[in-house]
Symmetry: C2
Subunit: 471 residues, 2 copies
């Protein structure tokens, strides 16, 4: 039976693109090495039609499939389970830029294109594709769309969802929906595009997309501000939005302990202004006019903020190297915390206005629960998104800490998120990792609708089964 099915796959995509032997860990293991599954096969179609043929073979034989892009997901949503029954449908051979339309400010691409390649393709056309995140060198746009990835420029340009105008999708029946619209307005029925975006491969397989492009800014400046409190950081955000408008393309907050870890493990990065202040903020200003204009706007903003007291001290990068240096500090926080040892990671979002109280209360509850616990708190404050990570007390046994506390810490953090009307997954998704948590933190009505939609579009439950939608 399996052999007959595999032969059908081989006929569809070529025998060389149906992998069943050898080391398949690149496809079977998730990026954070939380899980190692076992695939019936790794199938690598080379065209949309081949994807459709594979899905039809799966539909007819009832074989479950897991769509996979760059396999950089953080919630175990793109690797097979341990049953050996699931195939991995790898999209990475679909890697062409189909076309760029500068007058329409759009780019139509295959799902398997690596994000960084798309940034470069846009730049070569004199335009900006603003999606940017840590995994950009290996993640694919199909994966970005399937998980509605966020990143560092959401404040200005939105999540991946907001950057997408149209999709090409292979349905659970193996039909092709050609929805590659380059339209900014289209009210001819239900919003199928946004239903597939963020569904993590459980409703259809994204094979292509039309994405928005933007003019390249004339200048981009970066500033670093020390703030006396999270309340002050929120106030600074409001001032920056007022002064810079859409020029504000980045607003990252970093707690003192997060920066202390960078300072400890990467002293050569020379973290500025963090010793005396509980939080620092990294601001980015993208200007359509000139560097001079950007600098003037930044200076007026920071003067106002200093007078107002919501900024204690600040520096503006003098040149691109300094700007990269400041961003590099921000981006080194995850690595520095890994150097420090295991920790309990969260990717939460909250209404921006409620973040200061959330953190004050939750910090205190965690200290009470685990005296000496250390918080690596940082994230995209402009989007209300915090990576609120919990590190063991200094010198403690980290493995024991995780074993003893992970479940309780998650419950405490997520219960607080619920109290403050937040989300337990801001930008990473649900996958297999958090699907068990969903019934506690999402309404029964919402989950009921999700189940109904899943059943409507994938009645045989062959697309990434068990992920995202609680059973």
């Amino acid at each position: 039976m399996n052999e007959e099915f595999l032969n059908r796959l081989r006929a569809a995509v070529g025998a060389a693109n149906v992998l069943t032997d050898g080391d398949l860990s690149a496809w079977e293991q998730d990026w954070r090495k939380r899980t190692r599954g076992k695939a019936l096969a790794v199938v690598r179609p080379g065209s949309t039609e081949e994807v459709a043929a594979v899905v039809r073979a799966c539909a007819e034989s009832g074989t479950p499939l897991v769509p996979q892009g760059g396999n950089t997901g953080l919630v175990v949503g793109g690797v097979p389970d341990e049953s050996g029954r699931e195939i991995v449908l790898s999209l990475t051979r679909l890697n062409k830029v189909r076309g760029i339309d500068p007058a329409n400010l759009t780019m139509t691409v295959d799902a398997g294109c690596v994000l960084q390649n798309l940034q470069q393709a846009a730049e070569q056309a004199g335009l900006l594709f603003p999606l940017s995140l840590a995994a950009e060198g290996s993640c694919t746009i199909g994966g970005n769309l399937a998980t509605n990835a966020g990143g560092t420029q959401v404040l200005r340009y939105g999540n991946t969802r907001e950057l997408c105008l149209g999709l090409e999708v292979v349905t659970a029946q193996g039909e092709v929906w050609s929805g590659l619209s380059g339209l900014r307005k289209d009210n001819t029925g239900y919003d199928l595009r946004d239903l597939f975006i963020g569904s993590e491969g459980t409703l259809g397989v994204i094979t292509g997309a039309t994405m928005k492009l933007y003019p390249l800014p004339a200048a981009t400046l970066t500033a670093w501000a020390a703030v006396p409190s999270l309340e002050a950081a929120v106030k600074l955000l409001g001032l920056a939005q007022k002064h810079l408008g859409a020029g504000l393309t980045g607003f990252e907050v970093m707690g003192q302990f997060a920066l202390a870890l960078v300072d400890k493990h990467y002293p050569q990065l020379r973290v500025p202004l963090f010793r005396e202040f509980p939080y620092c903020v990294l601001l980015e200003n993208s200007d359509t006019e000139s560097e001079e204009h950007a600098r003037g706007a930044f200076e007026r903003l920071l003067e106002t903020a200093l007078e107002d007291g919501c900024v204690a001290d600040a520096v503006v990068a003098e040149n691109i190297a300094q700007a990269h240096g400041l961003w590099h500090i921000r981006e080194s926080i995850p690595l520095a915390q890994a150097e420090e040892g295991l920790n309990i990671k969260h990717d939460i979002s909250l209404p921006v206005s409620r973040i200061p109280t959330y953190c004050a209360e939750t910090d205190a509850l965690l200290q009470k629960e685990i005296p000496g616990v250390r918080l690596v708190n940082f994230g995209h404050l402009g989007d209300g998104n915090l990576h609120y990570n919990v590190q063991a007390p200094e010198g403690g046994d980290m493995k024991a800490f995780l074993r003893e506390h992970e479940e309780r810490v998650n419950t405490l953090v997520y219960d607080q998120v619920k109290r403050f009307d937040g989300s337990i997954s801001a930008e990473h998704g649900i996958g297999g990792l958090k699907v068990g948590k969903l019934p506690e933190y999402k309404s029964k009505v919402a989950i009921g609708m999700m189940q109904a939609l899943k059943k409507a579009l994938d009645p045989k439950d062959i697309l990434n089964p068990g992920r995202v939608v609680p059973r």
Copy 2:
């Protein structure tokens, strides 16, 4: 049976809010007076719970219902049919602003709030709610959401969809989904919000929403430019996007005949620069800094465009009165064409880059089909959205023109839209008016998915049945 059902409604919302007698034309007739239906009753609940009770009564008795806001829709999607079986569920008593959160830049409101009241509530809080369209004095935000309304600032702020962060919805089963998130990032499952937005009341009844707000700009300037061709207008758009970035909040194109009609019927409006040029463009620049800065940016843009040849002549409004005057000309086009007589209206969108060729080809095809036909072509060029309206030849019998040509003209215009990868409904929706056209202009796969989704969420087909989704 009917009486028993009506008594249940009276018990749910109060007898005074179940209208069955007298003149119900305000609810039964659509705004453009294309259709006059007959309602079993007009039901006016005063709270979300009352909406849920009404929907439960409908679900249990199998009574179809038509949700209705300000009844300003243009595609016969919010009025009952002639059967006398459908109730109108009017949301206008749900008209409270539930709260404004300035630090989070959000506003949570009842679905029945009139759009203009929300603009004013935001402004009183020192903030901007940027949704703006002709019917804003009477349309409701629930209707805007149900139809994903567009308007004049989509270029910068997006359609209603892009302005919404969360919804409260009564499902077809009469349950309440409380999805009033003030979150800019939330990846905890399927995007239910965007599925309801634009579904025109066929999947659920929107009762509340959390909408995005923005800082008020420091200055808003308006310019009027005559352009030698549509190609030049597209080029000017690209230059304006490059120079002004997100400052570009309006880019409206108006054909010479459209402006000639305004000049003919409202000579006091003094339309500038239209006699020698085939198209004029209205540009709006919203600046976070100052009027002086806005004026400088506009002047640099227009100088570049004049040198480049894509602008032939231009004026910048000197003050707010002049700016309003220019906008008033643009907004008077629909009235001027009504003064001129009946015409065949279209609300199409295309990739911006393809608009010049689309218009050249389609203009010629129409002239060939109906010699002397006149085109009232205007719209939101920045969004690729044209109101490409077809007026009878001068002096002809207009009723006869419509009778003889409407169907053929629609087919010609829409077939061309299909050839150019456009949409037959950019911002007005499908409703009952265009649902019959959908199978010709939307893919079978897409319609199949729409039908499956409708069946999944509204299995008894009680919510606005027959609208949007072809049967």
